[in-house]
């Protein structure tokens, strides 16, 4: 077990995780860098239930290339991720800074994405919390997948269903509504309400 980081959730629970897991969050990474003696990082805006979900995600992503990585088709021997002898390809380098990887990395990320898609197949309330946490903690991959989860909830639903999902209020005035419906009718087929 490598060097660990202690995180304290908003409701006072302590989570001890490896650096590679915690440093998926750019915020935690920068806080850990500037902290001196204490390796305990408080996260008042994330409660323990959400933090544990976030850490589950980070654990899975700890040693993989980011889903944002550009994939060049270079052979794996030349990929900084695989080639142990490549100078400067240190393991502490953020995976999202890794701009060119090989097919093997691409395959690994695709597998990871499958896992992620299952991970975000949850109720919108949880997705909402994950989005907030990913935004607050600056975790690129979690943000990416939580956005996908929210987008997936919208796809194929009619406006009333979308309003219910996101707790939205129909705040159009009657005139606005008329105008929009007219605009909608020449934008697309009228939906069946």
């Amino acid at each position: 077990m490598g060097k660990t980081i202690k995180l304290i959730s908003g409701d006072g629970e302590m989570f001890e995780v490896e650096e590679a897991v915690a440093f998926q969050s750019n915020i935690i990474k920068s806080l850990a860098d500037e902290d001196n003696a204490d390796d305990c990082i408080p996260l008042p805006r994330v409660d323990s239930q959400i933090l544990s979900k976030v850490l589950e995600f980070c654990r899975k992503h700890a040693n993989s290339p980011s889903v944002h990585t550009k994939f060049a088709a270079i052979p794996s021997e030349l990929c900084p991720k695989h080639d142990g002898s490549a100078a400067g390809a240190s393991s502490s380098e953020s995976s999202s800074a890794h701009s060119e990887t090989c097919r093997a990395c691409y395959d690994a990320v695709m597998k990871l994405v499958q896992w992620d898609l299952e991970f975000v197949k949850v109720d919108l309330d949880l997705i909402h919390h994950l989005l907030k946490a990913a935004n607050y903690l600056d975790i690129e991959d979690l943000m990416f997948m939580a956005v996908e989860g929210a987008a997936n909830a919208i796809r194929g639903n009619n406006p009333e269903e979308i309003r219910k999902l996101f707790d939205l209020e129909n705040d159009f005035t009657p005139e606005e509504e008329k105008e929009i419906l007219k605009e909608y009718s020449w934008l697309d087929d009228p939906f069946e309400p």
Partner: protein, 435 residues
């Protein structure tokens, strides 16, 4: 959980990911915030199914079912008031099968029609970073389109362009200095030697020319090109690739008279070519991965023999029926590719090993062997005898790719024979679905 908890940039992210124009239109009907943010979605896809197109062409229904092309124009006018970058994709449903010679003289799905494009592209051209048009072949195949010149005039800042299923003219095509990625798929191109392509797309880094017909002696000459996939399905007199920064090339052709590659930095080459009279390849100093599929495996291997840097090699036979004499397919691995570490043998080549495809010599560096079995009747003795050619190399790992339909008993038998005959090798079995 309310909308106020989501900052606008995140909502725009979500709407951009939703992407589909119908879903976005429904979001617009929900509340004010989503309505205004929907115009800022960075990526929008408009898809028209055949059924949708037919619905709006029924006379008298134009109010209920606006024509898809009007929908596109109306949406563009709404999007023009926003300034953030936009990726737009327009696609017609593909017909199930395209009977040869059949055409459709309708217009409702003819997206590369210049009058249609000139109605809406100028409205959003300042925003467009990426444009993709999948046209409807039955309506586009019989008339040349001025889509490319039009796009070049209006979208001078475009980064990515993709067009599928169209007949494209290049007359009066203007330079597009910022275009880094071009994808032409199933296109009849009136630029027989690709002169206009080279002249007007000088900054291309990624190029895909898949089933692009109308070419005679095409030559790609692009200084910034890094990745190139070229599938030539009809006859060409010659094929030339002159790309000093090219790193990856995948070339598939049938029987050109000549092929010329000036690609000194190439790392990864995948070449499928039935037969060729003349092939000239400028020395490849960095080539690491090579895949060759041909009826002239022997001759082609010689062409790449100088590249001592090749570490991974894959060989496959193009069309066993074309093989006239065994010398064509005889590869002396120890002479031609002495330093390879990994060797993959394709189905047809493996089947005809060692009679037609002969692999001579010992490979000192070879560590991993991958073979593709095509037959479902696995015979351990035959497999073993084929492998004995390579047994005296220092191979430590063999991966056998077996058809998924091969019966279990045959598999088990073959596997145990292999393990017995080659005890020092680590075996791995992968099943492959038959396409």
């Amino acid at each position: 959980m309310g909308l106020e908890d989501f900052p606008s940039p995140i909502l725009v992210d979500i709407l951009s990911r939703v992407g589909d124009s119908t879903d976005l239109a429904r979001c617009r009907l929900t509340c004010r915030t989503l309505r205004s943010l929907s115009y800022e979605a960075r990526s929008i896809r408009l898809f028209c199914s055949r059924e949708r197109a037919l619905r709006s062409s029924v006379p008298g229904t134009v109010d209920l079912h606006p024509a898809f092309k009007s929908v596109v124009c109306n949406l563009a006018s709404l999007l023009s008031s926003v300034h953030s970058p936009l990726s737009l994709s327009l696609a017609a449903e593909r017909p199930d099968c395209v009977p040869a010679g059949e055409i459709d003289d309708g217009d409702e799905l003819y997206f590369t029609d210049s009058p249609f494009l000139s109605r809406w592209i100028p409205l959003i051209s300042a925003r467009l970073q990426s444009l993709s048009i999948h046209d409807y072949w039955l309506q586009s195949c019989w008339r040349p389109s001025r889509a490319l010149p039009l796009i070049s005039i209006f979208c001078s800042e475009l980064l990515n362009l993709e067009i599928r299923n169209a007949w494209l003219s290049v007359k009066e095509l203007m330079p597009m200095q910022t275009l880094t990625s071009l994808n032409l798929n199933y296109i009849r191109l009136d630029d027989e030697n690709l002169e206009k392509v080279n002249e007007c797309f000088p900054s291309l880094q990624v190029l895909n020319l898949i089933d692009v017909g109308g070419l005679k002696e095409p030559k790609i000459q692009l200084l910034q090109l890094r990745t190139f996939t070229w599938t030539v399905s009809n006859f060409v007199v010659s094929l030339t690739v002159d790309a000093p920064k090219l790193v990856e090339l995948k070339l598939t052709c049938v029987e050109p008279k000549a092929v010329h590659l000036q690609t000194p930095l190439l790392l990864n080459l995948d070449i499928t070519i039935k037969k060729v009279e003349v092939i000239k390849v400028d020395k490849l100093h960095n080539l690491r991965v090579l895949r060759v599929e041909s009826s002239q495996l022997g001759n082609l291997s010689q062409v790449f023999a100088e590249s001592r840097t090749i570490k991974r090699l894959e060989m496959e036979l193009y069309d066993p029926a074309c093989v006239i004499n065994t010398e064509q397919c005889s590869v002396s691995l120890s002479d031609t590719f002495p330093d390879i570490e990994e060797l993959t043998i394709g189905e047809k080549a493996w089947f005809l090993l060692p009679q037609i495809v002969r692999i001579k010599g010992e490979l000192v560096s070879l560590k991993k062997l991958v073979v593709h079995e095509s037959t479902t009747e696995l015979d351990g003795a035959i497999i073993s005898s084929k492998l004995s050619i390579l047994a005296h190399s220092h191979v430590c790992q063999v991966v056998m790719v077996i058809p998924a339909t091969a019966p279990i008993e045959g598999r088990v038998c073959a596997i145990s024979k292999c393990i017995n005959d080659f005890p020092n090798i680590r075996w791995e079995y992968v099943t492959k679905e038959i396409k």
